[in-house]
Structures are given as C-alpha cells and as structure tokens.
C-alpha cells in the first residue's frame, strides 16, 4: 500500500507541476508533438517507399536467353551454376511455349487466339526459352548480370533496374532528409523538456529541500519530475498519433481513387498494418524521450 500511496502522490505532484507551469508544459508538448508528427510522417513515407520498392523488386527480374542449339542438359547446367550464387530468391525456367503464351496475353489481349492463329504451327519465340531470375536484394543485380553474361551458352541477359534504382535513390534521399529534420526536432524537444523540468525544479526548490530534511527518498523527490516528463511525452505523442490516423486514412483513400486504377505500383501499406507500428514508434519516442530527459535533467538539478 505504501508503494502505491507514494506512486499516487508522485503522479499527482507531476500533474500539479504541469498545471503550475502550464505555458512551459504546453510549449514542450507542442514541440514533442511536432517532432513525433514529422517522425511518424517520414516513417510512413519511408516504410511505403520501401514497400513499393519491395513490390517493384518482385516484378523486376533478370531474363537469361541461351545460344541456339543448346541441349536441355546444358541449359540445366547453366541453371545450376546460377543457383549456386548466393542471393537468388527465385529461378524459373520459361519454355518457348510459355513465353509465347505470355506474349500473346500481354500484347494481343482478349483477342489473342484469333490474332495468333497465323502463327499456329510456328512459334515465333521458339528460341526464346529462358530463365527468369528474381534476386533477394536488387542492389546485387549488376554483379549477377555480369556473372551470368560470363557463362558459356548464354546469348543475352535482359534486365531493367531503372524503376528500382529510382525508388532506392528516393528512399535514400527521404531517409537522410527525414533523419536530419527529426534530429533537429529531437534536439529542440530535448531542450524544451529539459527547460520545463528545470523551471519546475526551481519552482519546487523549497519543497524539495523540506522533503529532504523530513526523510523523503531520492525516488520520491525526483519521481514527480519524471512523471511530468513522461506525461509531456505521452500527450505529445498522442496528438500526432491521432493526426496520423486521419491523414494516413485520407492519403490511402486518395491513392486508391487516383492511382491504383492505372498501376498497382503505388499501393500503400494498409492502415491496419502500419498504424500499430506508428503508435509503437510514437509512444516509445514520446514517453522514452520524456522519461530520459526529465530523469537526467532532475539528476543534474537535484543533488539529493
């Protein structure tokens, strides 16, 4: 019961302190909220760009064509040599018939049977059987292409990394930019929380001195300030989390309405998948920052 009474007392004192220094507390909450909002926003963007990049990677592969007259055993041997290399996610043999069927579907559409009738007994892609290769990491593509091109029996290697490299580049720029902005905001938030706690400590100097002399423990003297920091962090995280819920929902609906009918490339991570992560990140950042900053600030100011 004693522990609970002490905790409850410290909690109430923390709340009182926020009320007493309401302007400083509001400034701290606003800064933490702005910091976490931008963090959540950039987090969502980075996660979505990564998601889109990943999706794109699964659709972009390497196609390996063989020299004419190569036997099935030789083609199989080439396949085995490629499989030996690390980083291969999938290697699939596409026969000439499958290549022609795929071509018909892609280019002739619903009328494929009629339009392809002229080639009934003559597969124009007879020499286009190939290996379709998908890599675990698209950044390994260039090295893999060079390796395959060096193999005997390989006529041509097709690949395209324009989209993926653009995505990766964009992802990198967004990550660096968001990292820099967030670092500045975190520094400002740390300064403001620390300042709020320092003001609260100065305001309660007399009370803390009395507490010390009548036998209050370090925990009891410091806890209200830490509670204050944690509440500032928690409220500061709650606001952007709520804002992100509505903004993300709107953005996802907008993308579906305006872009998904043309291409699935811009498909966003569903809200119910990304939101728990946003909540976890925001709360950890807000509460963690509030706790750590107030803990270390009060340690500095209150030599008990």
């Amino acid at each position: 019961m004693t522990g609970f009474n002490t905790f409850w007392y410290c909690f109430k004192q923390g709340l009182k302190s926020i009320k007493r220094n309401i302007l400083f507390s509001m400034a701290s909450i606003a800064t933490v909220a702005a910091c976490i909002f931008l963090f959540s926003l950039f987090y969502s963007i980075v996660m979505n760009v990564q998601h889109i990049t990943k999706e794109a990677e699964t659709t972009v592969g390497i196609t390996v064509f063989f020299d004419e007259g190569l036997s099935d055993e030789q083609k199989s041997a080439i396949g085995d040599m490629i499989k030996e290399k690390p980083g291969i996610k999938e290697l699939r043999y596409i026969s000439a018939e499958e290549a022609w069927d795929s071509f018909k579907t892609d280019y002739f559409g619903d009328d494929s049977e009629e339009l392809a009738e002229a080639f009934a007994d003559d597969n124009p892609l007879a020499t286009s059987d190939n290996y379709e290769i998908f890599l675990e990491n698209i950044s390994d593509q260039q090295a893999m292409v060079q390796y395959i091109e060096s193999l005997d029996g390989v006529r041509e290697v097709n690949y395209s990394n324009a989209v993926v490299s653009a995505m990766s580049g964009m992802n990198r720029i967004i990550s660096i930019l968001s990292g820099a902005i967030i670092a500045v905001l975190i520094a400002v938030a740390i300064f403001l929380i620390s300042n709020t706690i320092s003001v609260a400590a100065a305001f309660r100097k007399r009370e803390n001195e009395i507490m010390k002399l009548i036998g209050a423990t370090n925990f009891m003297i410091r806890a209200p300030f830490v509670v204050e920091g944690v509440i500032i962090g928690f409220v500061g995280a709650l606001i952007p989390v709520a804002a992100m819920y509505f903004i993300y929902k709107r953005a996802a609906a907008y993308v579906i309405e305006h872009y998904l009918q043309y291409t699935r490339l811009f498909e966003m991570i569903p809200l119910n998948e990304i939101f728990p992560a946003i909540v976890a990140v925001a709360m950890t950042l807000g509460v963690g920052m509030g706790f750590l900053v107030s803990f270390f600030t009060i340690r500095k100011h209150l030599k008990v």
Binding site: M1, T2, G3, N5, T6, Y9, R206, E207, E209, I210, M211, K212, L213, I214, G215, A216, T217, N218, M220
Partner: protein, 252 residues
C-alpha cells in the same frame, strides 16, 4: 542517544566551524545549544541532520553512525528526526492540514492514516481550528506551531529546532517553548539551537554553550523548573545552574 566523539568540521574554504567536540545527549533530554553567530551551532545542527558530513570524528544518533551511513540510508535516518527552523519552511501554497500531511506523504502513509493522524497532531499543537488556513493568514507563532506539528507527525525520537523562536515576540516565544516542553515530556529528545542565552535561562534545562567551534560550557539545571515564563529583559542571572567542565563523560 546522541554521541559526538572528537568531531571536527572544516569547510572547503578552510574555515574550521567545529573543533574537536565531544558531547553526549541522553534519550528524553531537553538541551539548548547556545552561542553567538559563527560559534558553530548551525554547523552542528547540519551535522546532526546529516546535511553535512564531519571532517573527522564520530557522530552517533539513534544508533546510526552518521559518518559511515550510506547515502541511500540517510532518508531513513532523517525520519527518526523532527526538524524545525527559524523561518518555519512551510509550503505557502498549501493549508495547515496539507503542510502537516506533507510529512506523512513523504513516508508513504495512506489517506486514511493521514486523516486520522493530522487532526490529532493539530489538536496537540493548538491548531485544531485552523486546519484550513493558509500559512500567510497565520501569526508567526502559529506558523511555528505548524512547523512543529509537521516535525512531530511521524513521531521522531529527536526534535531538532534551529532558532525556533528567532522570529517571534516574547509571548509566542513562551508559547512555543511550552509546546516544546510538552513534546519533551512525552519522551522526545529536544535539542534547541539558539543565540539567546536569556531565553534559555528561564527554562532550567541543560545548556551547551559554543564559541568558535568549541563547547565552552555544558550546564545542567539544579532542579526542574516549576513553570515556564516569557523571557523579559536580561535574565541571565535568574537561573541557578552548576557548571560542568567541557567534554566530561561522568554524567552519561
């Protein structure tokens, strides 16, 4: 039991505030420590509350060796003390009840314990009717009573009072001293630090006089006082006392 053996305190500035003091105070005693400004009284007070650590020597209070006590155990030790100051050190944004309850909250007392104990203590200190008042609306004497109530609420073994009547008129001084005597009669050791030797001579209690960091006299009353009178004028010669040499252990 409070025991000081060869205690010295030298500040970082080189000022020797306490010079090789030896002192014994038994449980339940009422002791005045008097001396001029700079005599070392306040340093002694701070050594006893463990705000300061002695440079050398041994201070044992309620069984705790204050030079060896671990930092984390200091709050526990301080809970065996009650402290009262000249400037009251009350919380002016809280009423009388809250000021006294504050000391109970520090030790983690429950709401029901606080509701039971605080009115009892306010009654003892004569503040029963003023529990809702704020310190600014009380007289100096009443504020000091609040401070004493706060010091006593956790039933300390020792009450340390640093110039408790320094800001009070003679009537309130008399009232506060009578209250401290009541507290002492209930078994609490009371140590009052003051610079007013005139006031203490009326009380017929043990008087330790300090000067330049030394105990220059340790006087015991010949008999218990019949009544406590307000201090009026120069009463230095009124109380008969027998002087004992400094640092003698034969009484303990």
């Amino acid at each position: 039991m409070i025991e000081l053996k060869n205690v010295c305190k030298t500040y970082e500035t080189g000022n020797k505030a306490i010079r090789n003091i030896n002192l014994n105070i038994r449980d339940g005693e009422f002791v005045f420590i008097v001396g001029k400004s700079g005599s070392g009284k306040s340093t002694l007070f701070k050594l006893l509350t463990r705000e300061l650590k002695a440079t050398s020597g041994e201070i044992i209070v309620n069984g705790c060796d204050l030079n060896k006590i671990k930092r984390r155990n200091i709050p526990k030790y301080r809970r065996t003390l009650g402290v009262v100051f000249q400037d009251f050190r009350l919380l002016y944004d809280r009423n009388v009840f809250e000021n006294v309850a504050f000391a109970q909250r520090v030790i983690g007392a429950s709401g029901s314990e606080i509701k039971r104990n605080v009115p009892e203590m306010l009654k003892l200190t004569g503040l029963g009717a003023k529990y809702k008042s704020y310190p600014n609306h009380l007289s100096g004497g009443e504020q000091q009573r609040v401070a004493i109530a706060r010091a006593l609420i956790n039933h300390p073994q020792v009450l340390l009072a640093d110039e408790p009547t320094g800001n009070l008129d003679s009537y309130n001084t008399h009232e506060i001293m009578r209250l401290l005597e009541t507290v002492n009669s209930m078994g609490t050791t009371v140590i009052v630090i003051t610079h007013s030797k005139e006031m203490v001579s009326e009380m017929k209690k043990r008087v330790i006089t300090m000067d330049k960091g030394l105990i220059v006299s340790d006087e015991y009353p010949e008999k218990k006082p019949v009544s406590v009178m307000p201090v009026m004028g120069n009463s230095r010669s009124r109380g008969k006392s027998r002087r004992r040499p400094e640092n003698t252990d034969d009484r303990i």
